[in-house]
């Protein structure tokens, strides 16, 4: 796949009266044409600054961004405005024009690029159809729900035929059901219109629902980068584990016995592994932590089990796991299981 956006050695330092604040440091990323790329991190990690550096709403203080073959640093303000029309953006707070109707909001980017009124209205209507809001074209933002506002914002972002849709915490102000619907819509747009999507979020469930690849940002740097299913099954960094198992710290009154971590990698989780193991070994286990989910049709996840004290019971379990080719390893004694 071709690379649509290349971010090279990008850094951003904010100068404030109380000293310099490093928001981003040494970021290297390639976003491929047609993929859904996620950028996740805790608040303050720098992810919102990163997405604003992609369309130069924030000018990076070092490094560069190459979009569709154009190096953005080298462009004049005027050229930059033309490039920005090829990048749609949606926001957490929707940022619709309150004094314009839904239709008026969608025609806005067309008006500023000089499209005639009739053509703009026609195109805006067809985009409102795409997002399922054609019947609310004449409604004002104050008359729309959060999910509907974001749909209008998506239609508006698509109006200038962008190559990429940048989503800055686009679902963070929405309830879980609406979040799912909006993500489905974004996935549909990616699939049917071939628009590359970059999603900024602090929620792992957003990443797992629609992203192909993910970059984890921590303390202004990329902590981990790779396919979503790979990072879910084998998180390497502390921050990745923290995001995948939020609040997954174990109570520590289970001293003494051994714990093992079982990793479901998409094959074994279609079978009732734990139930079979307990039945066949006739050994009880204590499930300390479990988190499995469906990612792109593959079930992945992890489970931490506490094994009985008796040496032979433990061996029977581990032997059974090895025999059934289940991916597992010992957890460190007394350590935090999940984090």
């Amino acid at each position: 796949m071709n690379e649509l956006i290349e971010i090279k050695n990008l850094g951003k330092v904010f100068e404030t009266s109380s000293g310099n604040i490093v928001a981003l440091s040494d970021i290297n990323l390639s976003i491929r044409d047609g993929e859904i790329f996620g950028i996740i991190g805790l608040s303050g990690a720098g992810k919102s600054t990163l997405v604003r550096c992609i369309n130069f709403l924030e000018r990076p203080t070092s490094g560069t961004v190459i979009f569709d073959g154009k190096e953005l640093n080298s462009l004049s303000e005027k050229e930059l405005r033309l490039v920005r029309r090829r990048m749609g953006m949606i926001f957490q707070q929707f940022n619709l024009l309150a004094q314009r109707s839904a239709l008026g909001n969608v025609t806005f980017p067309l008006e500023i690029s000089g499209v005639s009124r009739e053509k703009a209205a026609e195109k805006a209507m067809s985009l409102l159809h795409v997002v399922g809001l054609a019947d609310r074209a004449s409604s004002y933002p104050s008359q729309l729900s959060g999910g509907q506002k974001q749909r209008v914002a998506i239609a508006r972002a698509l109006a200038s035929d962008p190559k990429v849709l940048l989503c800055d915490e686009a679902t963070s102000a929405l309830d879980p059901t609406t979040t799912r619907q909006i993500l489905d819509l974004i996935a549909k747009i990616n699939r049917e219109m071939g628009i590359t999507v970059v999603i900024i979020t602090h929620e792992m469930k957003v990443i797992e629902q629609i992203c192909d690849r993910v970059a984890i940002i921590d303390h202004s740097r990329i902590a981990e980068l790779g396919d979503v299913s790979e990072i879910f099954t084998h998180p390497k960094s502390d921050i990745a584990r923290q995001l995948i198992f939020p609040g997954g710290k174990l109570p520590d009154n289970f001293e003494g016995s051994a714990r093992i971590r079982i990793i479901f990698d998409g094959k074994s989780s279609f079978e009732p592994v734990i139930a079979n193991m307990v039945l066949e070994c006739s050994v009880p286990v204590n499930i300390m932590f479990a988190d499995t989910r469906d990612i792109g049709g593959k079930a992945v996840g992890q489970m931490v089990l506490q094994l009985p004290e008796a040496e032979q019971d433990r061996k029977r379990i581990t032997a059974w796991l090895d025999l059934n080719r289940v991916n597992w390893n010992y957890e460190e004694e007394g350590g935090e299981t999940a984090v």
Binding site: L57, K78, R81, R85, F91, L96, L97, I112, S113, S142
Partner: protein
């Protein structure tokens, strides 16, 4: 008592009201021609504005503040050479329009500045992300989005100008203010003065109500 309600006096009130309206409306329009762009300039060149130019912002802000600190009655005298140069005289309603503009334009620039600053920064960011130029952001985002607030500001500015015209009456500015001063102050016709005051109060009420009505009529933020 009766002398205040003769046909002749009604003619005087009517003419005074027309003169006042003439001064208020013309000076409000001219003041907006200067005040609106200055207000836009103050917002855009602010350090958090769309085209930050801190030194220009500070310079314009300073001049506006100086103009606003001069009491209107002093400004009236101070700008009289300018008034004479433009209108050929320093008395009468047309001459009063010049100092009214000097006083109202800086005030209006601050009122406009305040209205424009109410526009959500996120909306401006969204417009920027769509490739809007600074001029397009001003004409298609800042001004239309703050329309209800701008209308209320215009009512406020107009009412302030009404107050100034009454003050100008003392130095032969014409309109209702002159009637109140000539009849009420110099000739002790208190009732006539009260009648003019009542007309001025009604005028202020009318502009305020009109402002509120138009502002809410054009505001799409309500359900």
């Amino acid at each position: 008592m009766k002398e205040a309600f003769t046909a002749q006096m009604f003619g005087v009130y009517g003419f005074g009201l027309l003169e006042t309206l003439y001064m208020v409306i013309v000076s409000a329009i001219v003041s907006y021609i200067f005040g609106l762009p200055i207000g836009v300039l103050l917002v855009c060149t602010d350090k958090n504005g769309i085209t930050p130019v801190p030194w220009l912002n500070a310079a314009v802000g300073f001049i506006v503040n100086i103009m606003r600190s001069i009491p209107f009655i002093i400004l009236l005298v101070l700008v009289s050479p300018v008034t004479r140069a433009i209108t050929g005289t320093t008395i009468g309603s047309t001459a009063t329009i010049v100092p009214l503009v000097f006083s109202a334009a800086p005030y209006i620039s601050r009122v406009v500045e305040q209205s424009l600053k109410e526009v959500d920064g996120g909306v401006i960011e969204a417009a920027t992300s769509m490739g809007a130029s600074p001029m397009q952001i001003i004409t298609k985002v800042l001004l239309p989005e703050s329309k209800p607030s701008l209308i209320l500001g215009a009512a406020l500015a107009t009412i302030t100008i009404i107050g100034y015209t009454a003050m100008a009456g003392f130095v032969g500015g014409g309109g209702l203010g002159t009637i109140a001063v000539n009849y009420g102050y110099y000739r002790y016709r208190t009732v006539i003065m009260i009648v003019t005051v009542v007309i001025i109060v009604a005028l202020v009420q009318a502009f305020q109500e009109l402002g509120l009505y138009l502002s809410s009529k054009f505001d799409r933020r309500k359900q």
